[in-house]
């Protein structure tokens, strides 16, 4: 078997329903699997001729998928759920069978806000991660003096960034809706908005956190790894209608991207990955900024000294349903959805673990045999035994050491003091 799977191995070609594909991406570090799969020939090896389309906004990604202008796209993981539920826009049922990686976001504040936080609560600012209590002290002072509330930005309301930022704020006693304003700013405009004072801080994916540090207008105070270890971030999204019409093409695409993610995660391929994605047509950020971004991202085993993002290790490509259910709890928590949700049904309809397994099977890589896992229960590396062969997993702890049982989402939700849930907290029968 090993000789067959060596470098020269050609995958048996399924009868692809479609071989010419147009895939959308947004210029961020975690577009790397798509870019590498194209540039290094992983798509071609699986019979796919892929054109990559750089998208200007997340709303466009969703609309272009629905209009059929894109076959598949890099998406913010919660977007697939929001689009399916019709939250924030028209309902477009989406499907994902692949996670594009874990971690990589950071909370950055402006130099002036950093100065105020340091002045008002020096001990807090010496801690890592910085607790939001320092920010709360600044917000309280502003309120006493009748100043307008500060503004933080995320790239899109249905994003891990938004939920991670809110989680950090709420854990430190800040009400993300009443005490400050969270607004949407496109990633490429974040640094400028921070520099000119339109916003006072943001939570965004790399390389834009590193970019602020590079241009000296902002300072990163929290890596979201410390809010939720190995938190999911982007996924490969397709519409449900597309997935139903193109099952073989879908599997081939997922297969090529698993291979690309595995290739990227090898230390010896890091530098080449950086140069490939730093190209003008992909992520137009200088290589040294991208390097800095990658150096800031922790590895799956929690060793921050290893300069590595997490694209493959620790089952980073697997679409865990527990991730989907956690995102749904956050949408409820912050009032983004106003009707009861059938957590099990929605997560199973959108997060398609079985497609992942079928796609991965010919690659002979270890694959989880369970669809969900408890989150927040491991604060150290652990071994997932319920897999085709055991998988070394990274920690999955939350900032406040809470645990999340995906079978009890409502109990989890009810335990939070700060919640803006407007939907009846029950599961419809």
């Amino acid at each position: 078997m090993l000789t067959i799977r060596s470098a020269g191995w050609e995958a048996p070609q399924e009868d692809l329903e479609k071989s010419s594909l147009r895939l959308g991406f947004v210029p961020l570090l975690d577009a790397a699997p798509l870019v590498v799969a194209k540039e290094r020939g992983f798509f071609r090896r699986h019979g796919l001729d892929v054109e990559l389309s750089r998208e200007r906004s997340w709303a466009n990604v969703r609309d272009n998928l629905e209009a059929g202008r894109l076959d598949a796209a890099q998406m913010l993981a919660p977007m697939t759920l929001a689009a399916t539920l019709g939250a924030g826009a028209r309902a477009v049922p989406m499907v994902t069978a692949l996670s594009l990686g874990l971690n990589g976001n950071a909370i950055t504040v402006s130099r002036s806000l950093l100065g105020r936080m340091q002045e008002i609560d020096p001990p807090a600012m010496r801690r890592s991660p910085v607790p939001a209590r320092a920010l709360k002290a600044v917000l309280d002072e502003d309120r006493r003096r009748g100043r307008p509330p500060l503004a933080f930005a995320v790239v899109y309301p249905f994003s891990a960034h938004n939920y991670e930022l809110r989680y950090w704020l709420a854990t430190g006693g800040v009400d993300p809706d009443r005490d400050l304003e969270i607004r949407t700013v496109p990633p490429s405009a974040m640094v400028e908005a921070l520099a000119d004072g339109t916003i006072d801080g943001y939570c965004v994916g790399e390389p834009w956190g590193a970019y602020a540090a590079h241009s000296a207008c902002g300072h990163t105070i929290v890596r979201t790894y410390d809010v939720w270890n190995n938190a999911p971030e982007k996924v490969l999204g397709v519409t449900r209608a597309w997935a139903e019409r193109h099952p073989c093409t879908h599997r081939a695409m997922v297969r090529a991207l698993i291979e690309a993610a595995r290739w990227i995660d090898r230390p010896e391929n890091r530098l080449e990955t950086l140069h490939v994605i730093a190209g003008e047509s992909f992520v137009d950020a200088p290589v040294e900024v991208l390097e800095r971004a990658l150096a800031r991202a922790p590895s799956a085993d929690g060793d921050a000294a290893v300069a590595a993002g997490t694209f493959y290790r620790g089952a980073a490509t697997f679409p865990w349903r527990s991730h989907a259910i956690w995102f749904l709890t956050q949408m409820l928590r912050w009032g983004q959805i106003d009707a009861p949700v059938d957590f099990a049904a929605v997560s199973a309809a959108v997060y398609r673990c079985e497609i992942y397994r079928e796609a991965a099977e010919p690659l002979g890589v270890p694959v989880p045999l369970v669809d969900s896992k408890d989150e927040g229960v491991h604060d150290a590396p652990w071994l997932l035994g319920e897999a085709t062969s055991p998988i070394a997993m990274g920690p999955d702890a939350f900032l406040d050491r809470r645990t999340f049982d995906p079978n009890e989402p409502l109990r989890y939700l009810a335990a939070f003091a700060a919640t803006r849930a407007i939907a009846p907290l029950r599961t419809p029968r």
Binding site: R56, S57, W58, A59, N60, D63, N64, E66, A67, G68, R69, G88, A89, R90, V155, Y156, P157, R183, T184, V185, P186, S188, A189, E192, D196, T198, D338, A339, I422, P424
Partner: protein
């Protein structure tokens, strides 16, 4: 293209409609503004250079927003819907001519309304009209559905909260209802939300 060019008579209500144009191509947005103003619209363009688009939307309170589909500002425009949560506004998109085939599919699916870039500004008015008409139809359908879905559950909450208030404050049903409404108005919350809080508080105490 028939859908984009068909004549729609301007409704009298359309006269004072405020249209915000979010497009960094100055020549195009100015031509569009002139065309819209000739038709009796109030056409608004954010100040040149970098601006706080969310604040613009908030302060200008447009009835319709036209946005360049290729602009990263689209996500801000989409998020600005939160500003008008109770009264959302239609969004019309500028797209490239080359995309027209797939865009037609999107228009037919009712996703949104689009203006093809390079189309003469006169063509824009009918699109704005169609967008508004479709949007209103969609909203009324949606609100009917929402009402049907929510009203029963919400009425139950309000009834229960009223009962609790009547019992604890020994007041009449009318007074209890007025109390709930006052709380809702002062907190900027929906009645059902306030009712839920009352019930939660009551079960805690």
């Amino acid at each position: 293209m028939s859908r984009l060019t068909q004549k729609v008579p301007p409704s009298p209500a359309a006269r004072d409609l405020r249209v915000l144009i979010v497009d960094r191509t100055a020549a195009r947005s100015h031509a569009l503004r002139e065309a819209l103003e000739r038709e009796g619209y109030v056409a608004l363009i954010p100040p040149p250079g970098r601006c706080d688009l969310l604040r613009c939307v908030r302060e200008l309170e447009p009835d319709v927003i036209i946005v360049d589909m290729d602009s990263p500002d689209r996500d801000i425009v989409e998020d600005s819907r939160r500003v008008f949560l109770e009264d959302p506004r239609p969004i019309v998109m500028f797209v490239d001519e080359s995309d027209s085939a797939s865009i037609r599919a999107a228009v037919d699916a009712g996703v949104a309304s689009y203006v093809v870039k390079g189309a003469s500004p006169e063509r824009v008015r009918p699109v704005v009209e169609v967008a508004l008409a479709r949007f209103r139809a969609f909203q009324s359908l949606k609100s009917e559905l929402d009402d049907a879905r929510n009203s029963l559950a919400e009425r139950k909450l309000v009834e229960r909260a009223k009962g609790l208030l009547m019992e604890r404050r020994s007041c009449s049903e009318d007074e209890a209802y007025r109390m709930l409404r006052r709380m809702a108005m002062s907190r900027g919350q929906r009645l059902a939300e306030v009712a839920r809080n009352v019930i939660e508080m009551a079960t805690l105490l």
